[in-house]
């Protein structure tokens, strides 16, 4: 039925027995052909220009425009060709049953189960041995696979590079003296020797001039108005980057969690579920800021055996 020879409309008009589905959609096929040719010529011109510009160098905009116009020409031409210079149809195709016939299914089952019974079922012992062999190989291969991937977590998540007495340094490794930061100032700091480490990143904030107690039990943690909190958000681990001095809040840019600086970084807004761990600070005899101890809880987002 779907014979697709090219037919001119005029012939269809002469011959009333002609299948009208074979008529072209285009009323004036010759003109259409010229239009399509024009489209293709646009394509040729653009692609030639692209070659020239490839050699001479040009801008991304010119490259994009030429490529878009070139393929646009080909595209419009092809669609028009397929639509207007083809038998307009509609054509029809029958559906056939997708599933096999009952006989075919039965024949298949006979072949599969029938033959299988003879060859396989009576030898189930062999099958079990084969299964065992593959299972052992499977278990064996877990070893190299997991080793190739990476280490087990162990207690890597429980502690950071901060130790008792770690000197607080800037991202350039410079130690910080008591009067380096003015009230309202803050900076990202690391334990000396671990500059740039992910879990060592800590926010040093100067929230006042006298000692600050953020919660009972942290009496000595904020000497001379200096407070330090882990910079890793307890929500999804983004680095917290903004300190709003008027409200004494820290803001995480990822999902806008807010933490109250003066109250042990208790989350006050957004999805973060836990306060930021606080680093107990001290000031050594030379006036440098150091850590009294490491963090006393895991930093960052939650995990199963937190």
């Amino acid at each position: 039925m779907t014979s697709t020879e090219q037919v001119q409309t005029s012939e269809a008009a002469i011959d009333p027995t002609r299948d009208p589905r074979l008529d072209l959609l285009a009323k004036k096929p010759d003109q259409m052909e010229k239009l399509i040719a024009l489209c293709f010529i646009v394509g040729i011109a653009c692609f030639v220009a692209m070659m020239v510009f490839y050699v001479r160098g040009s801008s991304t905009q010119v490259e994009g425009a030429l490529m878009a116009a070139g393929f646009g020409g080909l595209g419009v031409g092809m669609v028009a060709w397929g639509k207007y210079l083809m038998p307009k149809g509609p054509f029809e195709e029958e559906r056939h049953q997708i599933g096999s016939t009952e006989e075919d299914r039965k024949a298949f089952a006979d072949a599969f189960i029938g033959r299988g019974t003879i060859a396989v079922k009576r030898r189930s012992f062999l099958g079990k041995l084969l299964g065992l062999a593959t299972a052992i190989f499977g278990i064996f291969s877990l070893g190299p696979l997991l080793d190739s991937l990476g280490p087990n977590p162990g207690n890597a998540l429980d502690s950071t590079a901060w130790k008792k007495g770690s000197k607080v340094v800037t991202e350039h490794g410079r130690a910080i003296k008591v009067d380096d930061l003015e009230v309202g100032g803050f900076m990202t700091v690391f334990p000396e020797g671990n500059v740039g480490s992910y879990d060592g990143q800590t926010l040093l904030i100067r929230a006042g001039t006298s000692d600050i107690v953020t919660m009972p039990g942290r009496e000595s943690w904020g000497p001379q108005g200096y407070l330090a909190y882990s910079k890793v958000c307890t929500h999804a681990g983004c680095p917290i980057s903004l300190y709003q001095q008027e409200t004494e809040q820290l803001l995480c840019p990822c999902h806008q969690s807010l933490f109250n600086v003066l109250q042990a970084a208790e989350p006050v807004f957004g999805p973060a579920p836990r306060p930021l761990p606080q680093l107990p600070l001290a000031i050594d005899k030379n006036g440098y800021i150091i850590a009294q101890a490491g963090y006393n809880e895991p930093i960052g987002p939650g995990y199963w055996n937190f």
Partner: protein, 531 residues
């Protein structure tokens, strides 16, 4: 010996050569019979069938542009000093990956074009898949026998989203690094195995020992695309085997397919669509900047950018993270972290529902029959309203990924916006579903097949600007709006059929049934509003 004289041999024409070549192949492969059937495969002529094609061609563009990118991209986190031609970064420390992406953008001819085309193709690929999936869903094209192809399609969507995420994590810029960090937390939040998985993926505690970039590269350019190519092949093979669905209409039945044959009409048109997709992507790649990584800078784990917004297809997950209340559950020394609910459970449930939907629906509706004729969305208000509700839900999540932007834009407090989304995301979908249900019933009332129509009053405006109201003429099976009783159909005189035609046009009824009517007396068009 005349046979030695080549001149004597008759010269073969081009057609004869082609025939001989084809014969040579068929002698070895036996393709003629199957090939003819294949050429006769019919493609229904409906615009909505083109959505899948757009997805397919964007995928082809992804493969081609992706291969070009691999020739320059260096999958390594090793640090080096930047010496390329982008002045503001000269002399800074960058990773080899970031360095090579900068080189693609500034120092490789056509590099930025191809890179931006690749990124745009990813966005359009996933967009086309999503819309294509809606088409399949709302018309019931996934019903028996096409459940398998629905599952293949959902799998392609999941793999596409994953590969998109892997792809935009490759340049190692500040935004992609932040995304990766969030992904580490997501994996880490999975109960029992999460920490192990995260450590295995990244080769240690975040940021790992530098293996994540080469690993993602391998996944992004090899493993995932290979699986996707195989699945796309399976998708199309199933399509050929099971043949297309079609909307009902004159001459279209459960037993046939009406439209354009594969060869030559469809092949030509679809080749044209391919070129057009390339053209659009080239235009976007050339003119619409996307992911200007040189503005973000190299990723360092302690730096963060303010404009952290993922590609659009990840937006709904980002929104879900934002509106999640700050809960975390700690029991017996174990924790179910906050991230688990929005980032693992939510997509897990969503994709699983997608996958099993055809079976749920068959069971609920006790409809296990084969279907080749599509339903119009209104004809299945139950499904349509569930789908619309789900879309509303995803849209709300997506919008919630811009809480800060919205708060700024409308100058309201972020607090208010957040609480709005925390409730509205769950409430609005129900409204949308309800309204959709109503609309479906209303549309059905106007429908053409079997649906019992209510009769409406139509307000007509004459050319002189005068308004008058008129009841639409009754057709068989019509109900009176007020009494709800069946009305006597009018006799089909020329005048009556003209009126039916007119009123049907007003209310958007397609012409199928009307085609049976005698032609209208006059073609004058009136501007009309429905009441």
């Amino acid at each position: 010996m005349p046979s030695l004289l080549k001149k004597d041999k008759p010269k073969q024409t081009g057609a004869e050569k082609a025939t001989a070549g084809a014969k040579w192949l068929d002698d070895r492969l036996g393709l003629a019979k199957g090939g003819r059937v294949f050429f006769n495969k019919i493609f229904p002529d409906h615009w909505s069938f083109m959505l899948g094609e757009i997805a397919l061609y964007s995928f082809v563009v992804l493969l081609v542009t992706g291969v070009f990118l691999t020739l320059y991209y260096v999958p390594s986190a090793d640090m080096l000093t930047y010496h390329g031609s982008y002045a503001p970064l000269k002399g800074t420390q960058v990773s080899a990956a970031y360095n090579s992406t900068l080189a693609i953008s500034f120092d490789v001819r056509f590099g930025l074009l191809v890179r931006q085309m690749h990124h745009w193709a990813a966005d359009i690929f996933l967009g086309a898949i999503a819309v294509h999936m809606c088409r399949v869903f709302f018309t019931g094209a996934f019903r028996r026998p096409r459940e398998l192809n629905w599952i293949v399609g959902v799998t392609l969507l999941i793999l596409g989203i994953s590969n998109g995420f892997l792809g935009y994590s490759l340049p190692d810029d500040l935004i992609s690094g932040t995304g990766l960090r969030i992904m580490f937390s997501v994996v880490e939040s999975i109960p029992v195995v999460g920490t192990h998985l995260a450590f295995w993926l990244f080769g240690g505690n975040y940021p790992g020992n530098g293996v994540i970039i080469p690993r993602m590269f391998m996944l992004h350019v090899l493993l995932v695309p290979a699986i996707m190519v195989a699945l796309v092949g399976a998708h199309l093979a199933l399509l050929v085997k099971q043949k297309h669905t079609q909307f009902s209409g004159p001459g279209k039945t459960e037993k046939n397919v009406v439209g354009t044959p594969m060869w030559p009409g469809f092949m030509f048109k679809t080749q044209g669509y391919f070129f057009l997709v390339v053209a659009v992507l080239a235009g976007l790649g050339g003119w619409a900047q996307i992911n200007p990584i040189w503005q973000y800078g190299q990723y360092f784990p302690y730096k963060v950018s303010y404009a952290v917004q993922p590609d659009w297809y990840m937006g709904w997950l980002d929104g879900a993270l934002r509106i999640m209340p700050s809960w975390e559950f700690q029991n017996f020394g174990y924790m179910i972290p906050n991230m688990f609910f929005p980032a693992v459970l939510l997509p897990g449930i969503a994709f699983n529902i997608f996958i099993v939907w055809p079976f749920i629906e068959a069971k609920v509706r006790k409809d296990y029959k084969e279907h080749h004729l599509l339903e119009r969305p209104r004809d299945n208000p139950w499904r349509t309203s569930i789908g619309a509700g789900a879309l509303a839900f995803f849209f709300m999540l997506f919008a919630a990924s811009s809480t800060d932007v919205l708060a700024n834009y409308f100058n309201i407090s972020l607090n208010l916006v957040l609480w709005f989304f925390r409730f509205a995301t769950y409430i609005i979908p129900f409204f949308v579903a309800g309204i959709t249900y109503k609309i479906c019933l209303e549309l059905q009332a106007l429908g053409r097949y079997g649906g019992r129509r209510k009769r409406f009053n139509v307000v007509l405006r004459t050319a002189e600007g005068e308004y008058f109201s008129e009841k639409t003429p009754a057709r068989p099976g019509d109900l009176d709006v007020l009494s709800g009783e069946e009305e006597e159909p009018l006799e089909l005189t020329e005048e009556v059929s003209e009126k039916i035609r007119e009123s049907s046009e007003l209310i958007g009824v397609s012409s199928t049934e009307l085609n049976k009517l005698p032609p209208p007396a006059d073609q004058g068009v009136k501007r009309v509003e429905r009441d």
